[in-house]
């Protein structure tokens, strides 16, 4: 499915990473990374664990100490105060309060992210996103009592409730059953249609087909910046898993 929208550089870039160098634990996790994420698309950040995906996402939301290079989000340096309401971040660990109910978790973040909205709006926004991640039946359950998949959806709801322009999601579909994964990817696609930009990491290659664009990362280097269709066409592979392996072999890494 190659349309004009699939060309790199179609529309303005929401995230621009240039010469990013990150050292963690004395190791060059990202030696020199340059890439851009177009606005209004679901962009998959794929790669094996340890490839630097989480580090890149942390740099995009501005919580990573960087050794060099720049990360620009919506035209501002990553982590700028002006971005804190416009960029939503869901960590890999699903960072929510286990001793709060689903509703209280989401309402807290709704309150933090709401700019001058009244209590009623906060409550309504919280209920809406709890519904969007299909947790309405669990709204009054403590987050710590939920399954891993449910808990990560609470975390997602806490980011969605601020209605951010850019959503940075670190492995949001880990531990979810196929039905929920399909529903979440449909939710992501819907958000992108509304003009939101989503950068979603995954180590599950078959999720590649759900994305508008793909960034393939290996050992901190960009292996490919392409579309799902183009990836399969270029490598002649039958699925994304195989395509990734062929790229690795072809790169001679």
């Amino acid at each position: 499915m190659t349309t004009d929208d699939d060309r790199p550089g179609a529309g303005p870039a929401a995230i621009v990473v240039s010469g990013l160098h990150v050292v963690r634990g004395g190791r060059d996790v990202l030696p020199d990374l340059t890439l851009s994420v177009p606005a209004g698309q679901v962009v998959g950040l794929l790669g094996p664990s340890g490839s630097g995906k989480s580090t890149l996402l942390r740099a995009v939301v501005g919580v990573q100490v960087v050794a060099g290079g720049t990360v620009t989000v919506l035209g501002q340096p990553a982590g700028s105060p002006g971005l804190r309401r416009r960029v939503g971040y869901v960590t890999q660990a699903g960072s929510v309060y286990d001793d709060l109910t689903v509703r209280d978790n989401v309402r807290y973040f709704a309150g933090l992210l709401a700019a001058g909205r009244g209590h009623r709006d906060v409550v309504a926004a919280a209920d809406r996103v709890i519904g969007a991640v299909d947790l309405t039946d669990h709204a009054d359950v403590l987050a710590g009592a939920l399954s891993g998949g449910e808990r990560s959806r609470v975390s997602l709801a806490c980011a969605l409730v601020g209605d951010p322009e850019v959503l940075v999601l670190d492995e949001p579909t880990v531990g979810l059953d196929p039905v929920l994964r399909r529903d979440l990817w449909a939710l992501f696609a819907g958000l992108a249609r509304d003009g939101r930009t989503l950068l979603v990491s995954s180590h599950v290659m078959d999720e590649a087909t759900r994305c508008d664009r793909l960034l393939l990362l290996r050992e901190g280097r960009l292996l490919a910046d392409t579309t799902p269709g183009q990836l399969l066409a270029d490598t002649g592979a039958a699925d994304a898993d195989q395509a990734f392996l062929r790229l690795v072999d072809g790169a001679g890494v």
């Binding site: 939301v61 501005g62 309060y97 933090l112």
Partner: protein, 244 residues
């Protein structure tokens, strides 16, 4: 920094606490039980009249130090702190949120403990009883502020708990509870002059000894509040938006 976001965070911390009935029960009951135990141990002597007031300031300090350092460490290791710092929440809002929440808990704890000491254990208070409650609350807030600061230097719950003997016990030894501070060797007395808990014991002693001690207690309270502000400010500085 925003009062709304600080209050929101305080409210959230209180909600978390509400889910944990056992912790709430321990916070409210244990100090009274210990005060009761002391009154019983020293029944028939005048010792309780001397150590009882001091303990009213020490218990909330120790308890809040531990509770806060573990609570904020959980926030760091659980990843929620990193997440909070990507939102409009200021670092000072995190500190103030915790301090406010535990101050409210401390008010209830202090009212319960002081009431128990005065009504059940017959502790004589020459000055105003409400001021004794205020001192106890100030001590709790101080414990909370130092706990927030200490948690920045702990990378595990084990370390956080070890800060109790490291930071709290020396203050308990030197605060005038075991022997009056005037009787300490000069060097130790000087050290006790710069330890915040000393001022709590000075304040409670002044209040219980004579009705004219109110002014002294007020001055000690100001010193304690100074320590609170400094500890919270240092605690804010130890929070880093960007980490390796």
């Amino acid at each position: 920094m925003s009062p709304r976001l600080s209050a929101l965070t305080a409210f959230r911390v209180l909600r978390q606490l509400r889910a944990d009935h056992r912790t709430v029960a321990l916070l409210l009951v244990v100090p009274s039980v210990l005060v009761g135990l002391l009154a019983w141990m020293y029944s028939g002597t005048t010792t309780f009249a001397v150590v009882g007031p001091a303990l009213l300031g020490i218990f909330p300090f120790v308890v809040m130090f531990l509770v806060t350092s573990v609570a904020t460490l959980r926030e760091r290791t659980g990843g929620t702190l990193e997440r909070l710092l990507t939102t409009p929440l200021a670092k000072a809002d995190v500190m103030l949120g915790y301090a406010l929440a535990f101050a409210l808990v401390a008010v209830v704890q202090a009212v319960v403990t002081v009431a128990f000491a005065v009504v059940v254990c017959g502790l004589q208070v020459a000055g105003p009883v409400w001021l004794l409650v205020v001192v106890a609350v100030a001590e709790a807030v101080l414990g909370c502020a130092l706990g927030l600061l200490a948690s920045a230097f702990a990378t595990s719950e084990f370390q956080a708990v070890q800060f109790m003997p490291a930071v709290v016990l020396p203050q308990v030894l030197l605060c005038g509870l075991l022997i009056p501070r005037d009787g300490l060797p000069t060097v130790l007395r000087r050290i006790s002059d710069v330890l915040p808990l000393s001022y709590a014991v000075d304040a409670t002693t002044a209040l219980t000894r004579s009705a004219s001690g109110t002014g002294d207690a007020g001055r000690d309270l100001l010193v304690i509040l100074g320590f609170v502000v400094v500890a919270l400010a240092l605690g804010s500085l130890t929070l880093r938006r960007r980490t390796a």
